[in-house]
């Protein structure tokens, strides 16, 4: 079938200069939402509210970053939301004392909780990579199966209840502030900045694009495609565990359903931000603007006094609206 996208029309010749600005495609939408928000409620642009928006989005945003790595490399990971819940869940389970209301095992001291969380993320990532890269199984089905399994494990170890009274080291990044700004915001921004740097300015990062764009060509160019995929998939799981830790800290608990359903928001933010589900396209900065736009719209609706019962319906609608907005402002097809 003729594929119009591959036909170079003469008028397109001068586009590339503009194309480099594609990254900024959502900025106009973000500005519009900010203006509308300010009109709806003058609280919107106040420092306190902005910090509130950034903090509530920071945990999911880290997952968006993780998913971006995987999507750019041409794979996908549906299990991130489950890792987001299970990693801190297992840490809490192992470190909380046995008996009493804490329903933990008491095997290790509280100081182990953070390293344990990261280790669980690492282990899940390695298992995913093993199945996807080494055994060549479909990433979609592997991570879907993994997601269901991990959710079930969290319910299993917690008995369906919430872990409370967590070790203080687990609460730190979710509660502490540096210079009046919560640590989770700093961490989120630093991780994104690192992501922009790695994907934009390192050979390893660029090889993700090559693999996602055309694996055979990447191989022919001397890229160790398997190794790069192992690293990308594993890093994503570790990042999801970090995101989970941030939420756990902020709420001072791990609910049995932590993370459930979040993957939808994660994918939506990435696509809104210009990341292609087919691999090889999109940037970390774009993904950041995607999740930022989603949370800003949500915040405006809350400020506008939308009743709590309706938030669920609105959340879904917001994503659809944001998709349409980004299609209009970026002018390119989403994939």
């Amino acid at each position: 079938m003729p594929d119009n996208a591959t036909v170079t029309l003469p008028g397109m010749r001068r586009l590339p200069a503009l194309a480099r600005l594609r990254d900024l495609a959502l900025i106009p939408a973000i500005i519009v939402v900010a203006i509308v928000g300010q009109a709806v409620n003058p609280v919107f642009l106040e420092g306190g509210n902005i910090i509130n928006v950034l903090q509530t989005m920071s945990e999911i945003a880290v997952m968006v970053l993780a998913e971006t790595l995987v999507l750019v490399a041409g794979k996908m990971d549906l299990s991130l939301e489950a890792t987001f819940g299970l990693a801190p869940g297992i840490a809490a389970w192992i470190c909380l004392p046995a008996g009493g209301s804490a329903h933990g095992l008491g095997w290790l001291g509280g100081a182990w909780s953070v390293p344990l969380t990261l280790l669980v993320g690492l282990a899940i990532g390695l298992l995913n990579s093993l199945l996807i890269v080494r055994f060549g199984l479909s990433a979609f089905i592997v991570t879907l199966g993994m997601q269901i399994t991990l959710h079930g494990m969290l319910t299993g170890i917690s008995g369906g209840k919430t872990f409370f009274n967590l070790p203080s080291s687990m609460l730190y990044i979710g509660t502490a502030e540096w210079g009046g700004v919560p640590v989770s915001i700093w961490l989120c921004l630093v991780l994104f900045a690192a992501g922009v740097g790695v994907l934009g300015w390192t050979r390893a990062g660029r090889s993700l694009y090559a693999i996602g764009g055309n694996t055979d060509a990447a191989k022919a160019a001397g890229i160790r495609t398997d190794r790069v995929l192992w690293v990308a998939i594993t890093t994503a799981s570790v990042l999801a565990a970090v995101g989970g830790l941030m939420l756990t800290g902020r709420l001072a608990s791990v609910a049995a359903a932590q993370g459930t359903g979040d993957i939808f928001t994660v994918f939506a933010a990435a696509v809104i931000g210009g990341v292609s589900l087919n691999g090889g396209k999109g940037t970390v900065f774009g993904a950041f603007t995607g999740i930022l736009l989603l949370y800003m719209i949500q915040n405006v609706l809350t400020l506008a006094g939308v009743p709590a019962q309706w938030i669920g319906a609105f959340n879904g609608a917001i994503i659809l609206v944001a998709l349409i907005l980004s299609r209009i402002t970026s002018g390119k097809r989403q994939e």
Partner: protein, 500 residues
């Protein structure tokens, strides 16, 4: 330099290489020729470490080849221009050129400015005029081919493999490529060169190896060799030259030339491509549209097929105004197209030969929108026979075919719909000498049945069977030759010599 011993490779029921040996002497330029599907590209992927062989060994400088996963080590011993495009469409031209070896600055970060500068420099030596920050996916086929060649040659490898590098280049571009290859030869670089243009083998190679049906047939010095010897080795039969000439000269005068035109363009123009083109094609007439890559011939042919919308002028297909830029309408109006970029527009790689070949004619496959697989396979089988496609059968996915056979599937798809106007862009690119004759005699046959044919190409063989050849240069029609022109006359006309 490089030595392959007893290399065997199977793909399911197909034996692509059957215990073949090849030894390329240091500093030589070694040609590898053979018919479509003979196993040339398969050997290339074994020699460059992309596919493991089932049996046999490969040695470089007497040492065993690197481990398959060690891509860096492979890159040091051999550079390659593959038959299939290995550019990444979403990345810029500059990045494609330096993929995996981006210039770094302090802190091991990529220096994008330096990357673009080097890319511009590299393309300048090839006289390729493209903006290096454009995505590679937007380039024309020729430009993309140059990006691949420039990249492979810039590694500084002492052994370079070129798998049909000229199939997608026009005359002047081939001259430029050969200049660079001669320079490499003087520096003692070893080259393995694959082509279906035997005159190129005689022009720059010193040794030639022939493969046939997955086997090594002969290796001989080029000096003193005859083209017919090579063809005999390739086909396994001795045949008098010219015996297969069934050119269209005679099909011409079927009395159809007086009929209403199937295609008529008046004052057609597309900014940046061509201007003021007037051209008519009548039923039964084969019109050649010659010209180098920048002549606008490809763009014009694509406009006729509905792939592009012209900026001015009128275009009528079978007497009715064409809907500009509407491929579906063009197909329904009876236009069959053999596009230039077969990988993007020619076929769906993971579908079978039968599905691809019959894609344009769903109504012939069963009643009321259904598809009877037996009917589809039967139709596909006739096409496979007619076009001499080498495949396991109609159910084989197209991505398992050799490059030349994929091209024949594209041709089959265009012919399946019994088009009234057949538009072909470089229809025999990558097709072997004997299959070329088969394809072109098929074209002559449909023309004799009343189809109008437009062939945009710079291959003299493609143009020879045409009733008349219109030459484009710099976006305008520059000359017209009736059948019976001389080769050098045509080449000169295409390169803009002889008319201001």
């Amino acid at each position: 330099m490089v030595e392959a011993i007893g290399v065997t490779k199977r793909y399911g029921p197909t034996t692509a290489l059957d215990a073949v040996g090849l030894s390329v002497a240091p500093g030589s330029t070694h040609a590898l020729v053979g018919r479509n599907g003979a196993g040339k590209s398969t050997l290339v992927s074994v020699l460059t470490g992309l596919t493991p062989a089932d049996a046999g060994t490969v040695r470089f400088h007497g040492r065993p080849a690197p481990h398959l996963a060690d891509r860096d080590a492979w890159r040091e011993v051999v550079a390659c221009v593959y038959q299939r495009s290995t550019t990444i469409p979403g990345l810029t031209v500059a990045e494609n050129l330096f993929l995996g070896r981006h210039p770094l600055r302090a802190g091991r970060l990529i220096s994008w400015r330096e990357l673009r500068r080097r890319a511009r420099e590299l393309l300048e030596t090839w006289q390729v005029d493209v903006d290096v920050s454009r995505p590679a996916g937007e380039l024309t086929v020729e430009q993309r081919q140059f990006v691949e060649i420039a990249r492979a040659l810039s590694f500084g490898a002492r052994f370079i493999v070129l798998d049909e590098p000229t199939a997608r280049l026009d005359g002047p571009a081939i001259t430029r490529l050969f200049e660079q290859l001669r320079q490499l030869q003087r520096q003692g670089v070893t080259i393995l060169f694959i082509s279906h243009h035997l005159q190129e083998v005689f022009e720059i190679c010193d040794t030639v190896t022939v493969f046939r049906d997955a086997r090594h047939i002969s290796t001989r010095p080029v000096a003193g060799l005859d083209e017919s010897d090579l063809v005999a080795d390739m086909t396994g039969e001795v045949r008098l030259p010219g015996a297969a000439r069934s050119a269209a000269g005679d099909a011409a005068d079927g009395g159809l030339l007086g009929a209403a035109p199937v295609m008529e363009a008046r004052g057609l123009g597309l900014d940046g491509a061509y201007q003021d083109v007037d051209l008519t094609v009548r039923p039964g007439e084969i019109v050649g549209l010659a010209g180098i890559a920048s002549s606008g011939r490809t763009e014009f042919a694509e406009t006729v097929a509905g792939l592009r919308a012209p900026d001015r002028g009128t275009l009528e297909i079978s007497g009715r105004p064409a809907r500009p830029g509407d491929v579906r309408a063009a197909i329904r109006g009876g236009v069959g197209l053999v596009p230039q970029d077969r990988h993007h527009q020619g076929f769906v790689a993971n579908l079978s030969v039968a599905e691809n070949a019959t894609m344009t004619v769903p109504e012939r496959l069963g009643p009321a929108g259904t598809v009877r697989p037996s009917a589809r396979d039967a139709l596909a089988r006739t096409l496979i026979d007619r076009l001499d496609i080498k495949t396991d059968g109609p159910r084989q996915p197209v991505d398992g075919l050799s490059g030349g056979n994929q091209q024949k599937v594209v041709m089959a798809r265009a012919l399946a719909g019994d088009p009234r106007l057949l538009v072909m862009v470089s229809p025999t690119a990558g097709v072997d000498v004997r299959s070329k004759e088969t394809l072109l005699s098929n074209v002559a046959r449909v023309a004799a049945e009343g189809t109008g044919v437009l062939i945009a190409s710079d291959e003299l063989e493609d143009l020879r069977g045409c009733h008349r050849v219109v030459v484009m240069f710099g976006g305008r029609i520059a000359a017209e030759h009736a059948a019976g022109w001389h080769d050098n006359e045509m080449v000169a006309a295409m390169e803009g010599i002889g008319h201001a």
